[in-house]
């Protein structure tokens, strides 16, 4: 019988960026077209600056954007898109309105025409708006029964205080009061090409795709509004906030830590420190609380970037009975990464993971479209992939240790636990000051 040993890795080839082209139209709309003809489709992403837009109206606008134009009903829009294998949908984050879509490659021109109608001649018909308003109200009610949503809501409030990012989901009652005329006004005011970025990726000729976008969206005009959101406040660590969810069989642990934007020279080191701590399966924290202790199923940490600031969020759902012990291990692992330099081996493992996932992320049309669109909304382009790879490759153990001590220290964390407060308060109080959310 032959023996089997772990095969060596063949070193990665240099990152090869796809063929791409960019043009800013006279309206101020930037169009980026990327050729990746792997399947005969195109992916579309349009990000429109929406910072500081009134949340209830902006949220309902994102749910009603495709309900009708001067010449098409919501059903016409959906059917016409389907005819070219297409679909478009909209969503909202605290900085942007995001339109996402795709179609058969041969349907790109038609999809752009339909999108243009939606952008330039929106109708917001009363009946359709009423339907979507009721659906959104129900949707919010369901979200508010989800522990993950409740924990996140509590964390955002605690992290951002009076900053606009503090509330990212409107109250159902606020939605009920939004009228179609207000959506039309908000659309006229904010859905504008100036400062918006359209990304097209797929089986396309970049020059022709940009021409098609320019032709279709030529009548979309209007100066952009100032969407600048003030910088996010510094985190104010205080007592652990305990939010009661009586009868909960798990506790939702959430911590926010400070972080750096993608463009910071120390960002790659912070990303590596986060990976070593808890940012992937083979991290210390996941191996500890899942694979050793069995406290949880899918603990994860991630660095979240918004235009006005970045943060590092730690999240785990743990059994009610082990809430205290799980918090203990979390504090221990944060303290350890903040106090002691990582080992060479674990750093190399994290580095290879970070470099590999960049390549995996750019290997599909949808992945490339997402990256190009997100980067562009932060003023970056796909060549950031090359720059960031170089930064990840060269970050030293000392840099990672230094960044970890500044950003991953448990003393800097804002902490929220959602769970059965009567059952978990005692064990949490043994570890840190605890404050119950006011009823």
């Amino acid at each position: 019988m032959s023996t089997h040993t772990l095969p060596d890795l063949v070193p990665d080839s240099k990152i090869k960026l796809p063929k791409q082209l960019e043009r800013t139209l006279s309206s101020g709309l930037t169009v980026i077209a990327v050729r990746r003809p792997s399947v005969p489709l195109v992916e579309l992403r349009l990000r429109v600056p929406f910072g500081r837009a009134p949340l209830p109206r902006a949220t309902l606008l994102s749910q009603t954007l495709f309900t009708g134009t001067a010449t098409m009903s919501s059903i016409d829009i959906a059917a016409e898109l389907q005819t070219v294998g297409g679909g478009l949908s909209a969503g909202l984050d605290p900085d942007r309105l995001l339109i996402t879509g795709n179609s058969l490659a041969a349907g790109l021109d038609r999809m752009l025409e339909i999108l243009a109608g939606v952008l330039t001649e929106p109708a917001y018909p009363s009946d359709e708006v009423a339907v979507e308003r009721d659906r959104l109200v129900d949707h919010i009610q369901v979200a508010q029964s989800q522990p993950a949503h409740l924990a996140r809501t509590a964390l955002l409030k605690r992290v951002y205080g009076r900053h606009p990012y503090a509330v990212q989901t409107p109250e159902a009652e606020q939605i009920k009061g939004v009228r179609p005329a207000q959506l039309r006004a908000l659309h006229a005011d904010r859905v504008r090409p100036d400062g918006s970025v359209l990304v097209l990726v797929g089986d396309l000729n970049p020059e022709k795709a940009i021409d098609a976008a320019e032709k279709a969206l030529g009548s979309w005009a209007g100066a952009g509004r100032d969407a600048t959101v003030p910088p996010t406040p510094a985190l104010e660590p205080g007592p652990l906030l305990l939010v009661d969810r009586p009868g909960s069989v798990q506790s939702s642990l959430r911590m926010a830590l400070p972080a750096l934007p993608r463009t910071d020279p120390d960002y790659a080191a912070l990303q590596l420190a986060n990976l070593v701590f808890g940012g992937y399966f083979s991290s210390r924290w996941v191996e500890n609380i899942r694979e050793d202790k069995g406290y949880t199923y899918g603990p994860h940490t991630s660095i979240e970037h918004l235009l006005a600031g970045s943060s590092l969020v730690v999240a785990a759902e743990v059994a009610t009975e082990v809430t205290g012990p799980a918090m203990l291990e979390t504090l221990y692992e944060l303290g350890k990464i903040a106090s002691l330099a990582p080992g060479e081996d674990e750093l190399e493992q994290a580095r290879r993971y970070a470099l590999g996932t960049l390549r995996l992320g750019m290997s599909t049309q949808a992945g490339l479209a997402g990256l190009a669109s997100i980067y562009a909304s932060f003023g970056l382009r796909l060549d950031y992939l090359t720059e960031h790879s170089a930064a990840l490759a060269s970050a030293t153990r000392e840099q990672v240790a230094e960044v970890a001590s500044r950003f991953l220290a448990p003393a800097k964390a804002v902490t929220v636990v959602l769970g059965d407060a009567d059952k978990v308060e005692g064990s949490l109080t043994a570890l840190t000051a605890v404050e119950r959310e006011a009823e």
Binding site: H4, D12, S38, A79, A106, A148, G247, Y353, G356, R359
Partner: protein, 431 residues
């Protein structure tokens, strides 16, 4: 609009130990996807051991012949890759996606656990705890947990394999032993009961040699006989409901048996298209009627297979509709309107362009899924396992495009109230 097709090449061969291999090279991005699929799933787990197939999937990550606990994860991620596994009704898959230079490492890791996982009491207890947390997060601690995939089968089916809870009861999970696991591996995880598929950036000759080298000496064992899980369909409507103490709003799911997805593929395919005619987007029949016009549901979805895996499930399976309702929603009314719309389709046929646009959109979804290397490796491994036809993945957009109006009408006519099983979620939150 002409429906395009993919032309992913397909190379197939079988090793002496019975392992069936599918290679589908594509040099356009420097990544590879590796999938190993075993022909055992939830339907095969023994009575008194609900959830065991899934628990065993976890144990396959806990170390193997040459690998300590944690090593599998570290070797995949330390090569820049990602991994996972999932347990379905009819199969269990294990997969990695990695930079191309890590292909041989992935093959080594999969071959090592095919020779045998390290089954220890400590790892078993640890993973029972992890699985219990998985069930809490996905079922017990959230509204609509397990709806409808765990809630509808016991209404639709009589026999244990088809009706039982595939996540498992805590009692059964806690009763599982290392001996059970060893027996399960011995019986179901034979190389002849598995397929391996590799998609992405590799040379066929090089990969073939690597596969021979790593998997060739996995000892052959007898392949288990695949049981027939079929059972008679319903002869009268069945309706049940349960209170979900976390759910704020009512919901309902309905299921109808469909033809054998493999043995009667031609009769089955129209149901797949019908699901999209009824529920894909604002221009689909049930969304237009139930959501927009009558406003009696807030969302409606239609699909085949309890896990949404319409081309990777065996008989018996079901056509499913699920709808969430506004406060005070009337499930009886929703079902009556669904019946009305099915009748209207069965008697009045389709509108001009309705079928073609649905087929075009389905083609986009299928092509989009195959753009990722795992979106080829995984389905091809299952198609090889269940049908010996991995190339079906290339053919699906065309085959879907060939479904006719007559077939859709016949499919709609087959979804009768008296063969339907439904389960309703009664909201128990804020009551």
């Amino acid at each position: 609009m002409k429906i395009p097709a993919t032309k992913y090449p397909v190379e197939r061969f079988t090793l002496d130990n019975g392992l069936r291999v599918v290679l589908t090279p594509d040099r356009s991005a420097p990544v590879v996807g590796v999938a190993v699929v075993y022909d055992v799933g939830i339907r095969s787990e023994p009575e008194g051991r609900t959830g065991f197939a899934h628990l065993f999937e976890h144990l396959m990550f806990q170390g193997s012949e040459n690998l300590e606990k944690l090593a599998h994860f570290r070797h995949v991620q330390g090569a820049g890759g990602s991994f996972n596994g999932s347990t379905h009704l009819d199969y269990t898959d294990y997969f990695e996606v990695l930079p191309a230079g890590a292909l041989e490492r992935a093959l080594f890791l999969e071959a090592d656990r095919m020779r045998g996982p390290r089954l220890t009491e400590e790892n078993l207890r640890n993973q029972v705890d992890v699985v219990k947390e998985e069930i809490r997060v996905n079922v017990l601690n959230r509204p609509y947990g397990g709806f409808p995939w765990l809630k509808l089968p016991p209404v639709m089916f009589e026999t244990f394999p088809n009706a039982h809870d595939g996540y498992g009861s805590f009692t059964d999970l806690e009763s599982a032993t290392v001996d059970d696991a060893a027996e399960f591996f011995e019986k179901y995880y034979a190389s002849g009961n598995a397929t391996l598929a590799v998609a992405g950036d590799f040379d066929v000759a090089v990969a073939t040699e690597m596969i021979q080298r790593h998997f060739g000496d996995v000892p052959a064992r007898p392949k288990p006989v695949l049981p027939a899980f079929d059972e008679p369909g319903l002869t009268a409507e069945r309706r049940e409901s349960y209170v979900d103490r976390l759910a704020p709003l009512p919901a309902i799911a309905a299921g109808w048996r469909v033809p054998d997805p493999i043995g009667s593929f031609t009769d089955y395919l129209p149901f797949v298209v019908l699901a999209e005619v009824l529920t894909d987007g604002d221009a689909s029949r049930l969304v237009e009627r139930l959501v927009q016009r009558d406003r009696i549901v807030t969302s409606v979805g239609g699909y085949i297979g309890f896990m949404g895996d319409e081309f990777q499930v065996r008989n018996p399976t079901a056509f499913l509709l699920q709808a969430h309702m506004p406060p005070g929603g009337d499930s009886g009314k929703v079902l009556r309107v669904v019946d009305e719309e099915l009748d209207r389709l069965a008697t009045g046929g389709l509108a001009a362009g309705e079928l073609a646009r649905t087929q075009a959109r389905m083609a986009t979804h299928l092509l989009r899924d195959t753009d990722a290397v795992l979106g080829r490796a995984l389905p091809m491994a299952v198609l090889e396992l269940q049908r010996g036809r991995p190339e079906l993945l290339n053919e699906l957009p065309r085959l879907i495009g060939e479904v006719t109006e007559t077939q859709i009408v016949a499919a709609a006519a087959a979804l009768r109230p008296d063969s339907r099983a439904t389960v309703e979620v009664v909201p128990g939150a804020n009551q």
